[in-house]
Amino acid sequence: MRSIILQTATRYLLPILLLFSIFLLLRGHYYPGGGFVGGLVASIAFVLHSFTNGTDATMKLLGRKPLSLIPIGLGISAFSVILPLFFGLPPMTGLWVQEKFPLIGLIGSSLFFDIGVYLVVIGVVLTILFTISLTDD
């Protein structure tokens, strides 16, 4: 389904959506949002891209199989879950950097956890959708 209008629009919608998804990710701890919604929005951005430019083009854009995002994301989340164990704390305990960062606020392990979730969600949604669109039955 080629459409110049859609293609052009996607060219600037994609970065906007991605930016917005990161925005949702980072502020989830304070306002509605978080890793899930962020990841969903980001994947929707790529889905849109794949609608317009074809799945292959999107794969090229990503530079890797979306499936490979899953272990990365899971790894990050899982690591941030077990990290407190090294400090003698139960898993999942929030660890916080003392300094407040501008714009983002406090940085803690929960942010890394959310980043992991974000990546997993992207990997999952894209894997599902791209696999479907690349498979013919």
Partner: protein, 118 residues
């Protein structure tokens, strides 16, 4: 407003049940999704429902000053929604594969007899 939600969830349950009693695989899927929504609303309605007071603490406060919606059901439903999505996605694809294999959407055709077992 709770009454309204209660009616809605009843209808969603009813609709979901009706759909899973059909023969079509697509309807089965829709039914499952309806049941999922119904359950979510049920959980939602059983917490304390408040209008217009999301469980988000004001920027200049450390705790809530007024009333707020019960955050726990919301968190539970969020988890449930995401899980149902995973299940639904997989189910949809399963549907696709089954259709590719048996060329029908009719659930009654999914009975390979015992004689054909390996």
């Amino acid at each position: 407003m709770e009454l309204l939600l209660i009616i809605v969830l009843g209808l969603l349950y009813a609709g979901g049940v009706y759909f899973i009693l059909r023969r079509s695989m697509v309807k089965l899927l829709l039914g499952i999704m309806l049941l999922g929504s119904a359950t979510n609303i049920l959980i939602f309605v059983l917490g304390s429902i408040v209008k217009g007071s999301p469980p988000v603490i004001d920027a200049d406060h450390d705790t809530f000053s007024g009333i707020y919606a019960d955050p726990v059901p919301q968190a539970l439903i969020l988890t449930a929604i995401v899980i149902s999505f995973a299940l639904t996605a997989f189910a949809i694809v399963l549907l696709k594969r089954v259709y590719a294999l048996v060329q029908t959407d009719d659930l009654d055709n999914l009975n390979t007899p015992e004689e054909e077992d390996i």
